[in-house]
């Protein structure tokens, strides 16, 4: 029997703010243990929470970017359970009136793992619908030593966003694509660094399988403890296989929470449904309900940054870039800014120039950076210089082959392109008289190609063009020499 998987994700994202969610302590990763604490985030007797507006704004912004409905009135609730990493033994969260509802994430082709990009689903622009996004406080971090445990409360009370999807995901690759798209969107908008390895983005997966075509859901298991996006892919793949095998062998899936062990490549039972908590949610009486419709949503709409997918679409629409180029240039906000900076500095037809810049960045620059173990921030090529180089090519002053050479030199030295062109004596010949003389020489030296051309073989023209450029020592403007050749041959 053929089975299909049904997957929903619950993603926790640490919101990048100056202070914690309900007190004035710094929200900072990596400080010495228990140095960012106060009576409020330690749950001392008598303290009260004060909501962090910056965190509320960033959550609203996330909602707007992901196409959510922003709840007009939302509130905070208490979620009760006892655990040493929770100072009050209840967590301030949002239950039935979260900040954001609905919305979705479209899975772009290049968000999929490289080896899955050829899969038809990668090109389907599938929309994974969201159920909600809510804001809550993070818990402290426990450390277990040989005979004792320690708790670092620096993380306690830092703002945490929870993004919950519909069970729209059907494969480990889609889960991967969802998370990488989300990660890009959040980090580009500076909402979160969203680094899974640092715990800034944490993901629980609800997975079930059912015979293909069956409408009813199978019994689901929740998988926790993945600490990379590729880890999620592996864990989901493992769990789907485990469930299918269990059912095929006549077994039954029981509703439970399972822990992923990345080193072992397996999930293990953590707790069964019977051990599930009753969180006894109720509205937190310390916090007044919030109105979002009194200017908050409007002002956030105005501040809304372009998402990577919006930018990708704009590049394709305005500059006629192909989807691959547009997706690479949109994947990193710094790269996008760099690309647009170069484009602004370059002269010539927008679409032509944009394509030339995209080629330089994707085919040359990224490779050079990688080879030199550098990031864009280290790059010596000023966008103005880069733009100047592209303009030179566009204006026919140098050939694209020459330009590549100049580009490598610019990357190494940071020099202006005009300086390098002068130093190397690279001037492209565009003068018609000079070009005619190279063209005539090429025609005289290659009678066979001339015959072929006249017999209708267009490839022969390229051969003649190559000869003429060679005669000019590479300096002839390739486009113009082609035109001159045609004119002479057709005369």
């Amino acid at each position: 029997m053929e089975y299909e998987a049904v997957i929903g994700l619950e993603v926790h994202v640490q919101v990048k703010t100056h202070s914690k969610m309900f007190c004035g302590c710094k929200n900072e990763f990596g400080a010495p243990p228990n140095t960012h604490t106060c009576p409020v985030c330690l749950g001392m007797p008598g303290v009260l929470p004060t909501p962090n507006l910056e965190a509320v704004k960033k959550t609203v912004l996330t909602g707007l970017m992901l196409g959510c409905e922003i709840n007009r009135i939302c509130k905070f609730d208490r979620k009760s359970y006892f655990y040493p990493d929770m100072p009050k033994n209840y967590q301030i969260s949002q239950y039935d009136q979260p900040l954001c509802l609905d919305g979705g994430v479209v899975l772009g082709k290049y968000a999929f793992p490289k080896d899955a990009q050829k899969d038809p689903i990668a090109s389907a622009k599938k929309n994974v619908r969201l159920i909600r996004i809510h804001l809550e406080e993070d818990v402290a971090k426990s450390f277990h030593f040989e005979t004792t445990s320690g708790i670092d409360f620096n993380r306690a009370g830092t703002p945490l966003m929870e993004i919950v999807t519909q069970a729209d995901i059907a494969s480990p690759e889609e889960a991967f694509a969802f998370l990488s798209t989300l990660q890009q969107t959040l980090s580009q908008a500076r909402i979160s660094d969203a680094d899974m390895e640092k715990g800034q983005l944490r993901c629980d997966c609800n997975i079930s399988v059912r015979p293909k075509g069956q409408l009813e859901f199978g019994t689901k298991c929740e998988i926790k403890n993945m600490n990379s996006i590729s880890g999620v892919r592996r864990a989901v793949a493992y769990e789907i296989t485990r469930q299918i095998q269990t059912i095929s062998n006549g077994g039954k899936i029981s509703q439970e929470t399972r822990r992923w062990d990345d080193a072992a490549g397996q999930t293990y039972l953590m707790r069964t449904k019977e051990q599930a908590h009753d969180y006894r949610y109720f509205p937190d009486p310390d916090l007044m309900p919030m109105r979002t419709d009194l200017g908050l949503v409007e002002s956030m709409k105005q501040q809304m940054p372009e998402t990577p997918s919006m930018r990708e679409e704009r590049y394709m629409r305005d500059y006629a870039l192909n989807d691959y180029d547009a997706s690479v240039l949109s994947s990193d906000i710094d790269l996008s800014h760099y690309f647009e900076g170069v484009l602004n500095a370059a002269q010539g037809d927008r679409q032509k120039v944009a394509k030339a810049i995209a080629n330089f960045i994707i085919n040359d620059l990224l490779g050079l950076l990688g080879g030199a173990d550098q990031t864009l921030a280290d790059c010596k090529i000023m966008p103005e210089h880069f733009g100047g180089l592209v303009s030179c090519v566009d204006a026919g002053k140098i050939s694209s082959k020459q330009a590549k050479e100049v580009f490598v030199e610019m990357f190494a030295t940071g020099k202006e392109p005009s300086t390098i062109i002068q130093e190397k004596g690279m001037v492209q010949i565009s003068d018609e008289g000079a070009l005619e003389s190279f063209a005539k020489q090429a025609i005289e030296a290659n009678p066979k190609s001339v015959d072929d051309y006249r017999a209708g073989k267009m490839a022969a023209l390229n051969a003649l063009k190559g000869q003429a450029i060679k005669l000019s020592k590479g300096k002839a403007n390739p486009q113009l020499i082609g035109e001159v050749l045609e004119k002479l041959l057709n005369a």
């Binding site: 001392m44 007797p45 033994n89 006894r280 009486p285």
Partner: protein, 487 residues
């Protein structure tokens, strides 16, 4: 007259004119405390040394401030930096607050000296101060009787002249009921009027801090200092704070005072009813117009309160687990065992009863039937009052159905104990303000004299009218001059 008999208003005059020094005031109070505290036991702890140092550090500018040099007794539920904060619970034994509550900051800024930790029912849960890990406080009018609660220590220390004035907290009557039973003035301000930052929460949507004092004017002076918006308390209101003293002596002529029929029917002591009727007549004689009103949902206030308050308490008290502070059993097998046994040993039975009750009503499957319904009843109670205030400026009721009962009399019957707050609870449920002041004595108890309190209920943020009515009554009667037997 001994200094400790002074009212806040009288003492301030002496301090401002340098007739006495703050240190002399402390000395006088110390003498008084040493004399009567063995029979009253109003305090869990008094740090005379720190108070003396604070008194000595007061500058002439400080002494010119509204409360300059005045010691204020603090219920052991509000955080004072460097002082024990136990909420009369074993679970907070040894805990010292690392910070000042907002009200303490405000008192200090006005020149006052926080003095002493007043006894209370554990975590403010109770009506008799018998639920205290430190033992009960005794009523100064009859030491065989309870002082009321939960702010029993605050009421008793003011009544026995061990304090000039005190702060208490009121969740269902915890300021007004002990004030009535001890024969002093107690004011529960409107919810949001005074910051709760630094008040250990019992029921967050009901708790409010307020003064207990010897006169109405003294309460007005304290409220003036502690009222106002605080950014650290999200539920504190941005309403402007009026001048509570300027309108105090306007009298009651032209005011309409409502008398709800629902407050004079069941379980009320006939002597108490007569005293209250006399007080109402007296206000009528002073020129107030008395109007009959109805608060039809009064009967449901107690029941819905005992769902809402324990529900909130069950979460509020979850933090007392021995992990970060407070008492902890040493030999827990694991973390769950340590939690269970720490809380088992640390909490008294009334606190446990309410935690269990609150946990139950919030449980999945019961929430709608209990908590949600109780909140709906609360809306109806609030509506009752807003309709009533369409017909009157303030409402008059007894504060309690009976005078102080005997120590131990109701400890075995929680329901009887809960009924002690039957007239005060609706005010908290509606979030409005209430004042209790002495209006006579029942010929009961060891000395044949037990205080009875008149409750005046006001609109939200209209404490000024309560104080005005209270002042008119108080100044035209002699009750404020009565002193308890222990004097």
């Amino acid at each position: 007259m001994e200094l400790f008999f002074e009212t806040l208003t009288g003492l301030r005059e002496k301090l401002a004119t340098k007739k006495v020094s703050p240190t002399e005031v402390l000395d006088a109070l110390k003498k008084r405390v040493e004399a009567v505290e063995p029979s009253i036991r109003a305090f869990n702890h008094i740090d005379w040394e720190t108070a003396r140092a604070e008194a000595a550090a007061l500058t002439p500018e400080d002494l010119a401030k509204p409360l300059g040099g005045v010691p204020v007794a603090i219920k052991d539920v509000m955080a004072v930096k460097g002082q024990p904060l136990t909420c009369s619970s074993r679970i907070l034994k040894g805990f010292v607050s690392p910070y000042d509550a907002c009200v303490i900051e405000k008192l200090r800024a006005a020149g006052a000296i926080p003095l002493g930790r007043a006894n209370m029912d554990e975590f403010a849960m109770g009506s008799s101060t018998e639920n205290s890990a430190d033992g009960p406080t005794h009523n100064p009018w009859d030491t065989g009787r309870i002082p009321g609660g939960s702010s029993g220590g605050s009421a008793a220390c003011v009544s026995a002249d061990e304090a000039i004035v005190a702060l208490g907290s009121d969740t269902g009557g915890s300021i007004r009921q002990p004030a009535a039973l001890c024969g002093c003035v107690g004011l529960k301000p409107t919810y949001g009027r005074v910051s709760r930052y630094g008040l250990v929460a019992f029921a967050s949507s009901l708790d409010q801090i307020g003064p207990l004092s010897k006169t109405v004017e003294d309460s007005a002076r304290i409220l003036q200092v502690i009222a106002g918006h605080d950014a650290r308390d999200n539920t504190s209101a941005a309403e402007p704070v009026p001048d509570y003293l300027s309108g105090l002596n306007q009298g009651v002529k032209g005011l309409k005072l409502g008398v709800p029929k629902e407050y004079f029917i069941h379980g009320i002591d006939p002597e108490v009813e007569k005293i209250i009727r006399d007080a109402i007549q007296h206000l009528s004689d002073l020129g107030a117009e008395i109007v009959d009103i109805s608060l039809p949902h009064t009967n449901y206030a107690l029941a819905s309160y005992y769902i809402v308050a324990p529900a909130e308490a069950s979460a509020n008290l979850a933090r007392f687990d021995g992990v970060r502070y407070g008492a902890r059993v040493k030999d827990g097998k694991d973390v769950i065992d340590t939690y269970c046994r720490t809380r088992e040993k640390g909490f008294g039975s009334e606190v446990k009863r309410r935690i269990i009750l609150g946990t139950y009503v919030l449980s999945s499957g019961y929430y709608d039937a209990y908590y949600l319904r109780a909140q709906k009843v609360r809306t109806l109670i609030r509506r009752d009052f807003s309709e009533a205030f369409g017909k009157c400026d303030a409402i008059l009721t007894p504060t309690t159905p009976t005078p102080a009962f005997k120590i131990g009399e109701k400890t075995e019957d929680p329901m009887q104990m809960y009924l002690a707050d039957v007239f005060t609870i609706a005010v908290n449920m509606a979030g409005i303000c209430g004042l209790s002041l002495p209006c006579g004595f029942a010929a009961q108890g060891k000395h044949g004299r037990l205080p009875v309190g008149l409750q005046i209920i006001g609109k939200a943020f209209d404490e000024a009218t309560l104080l005005r009515v209270g002042q008119a009554y108080e100044q035209s009667t002699e009750w404020r001059k009565e002193r308890p037997a222990c004097a």
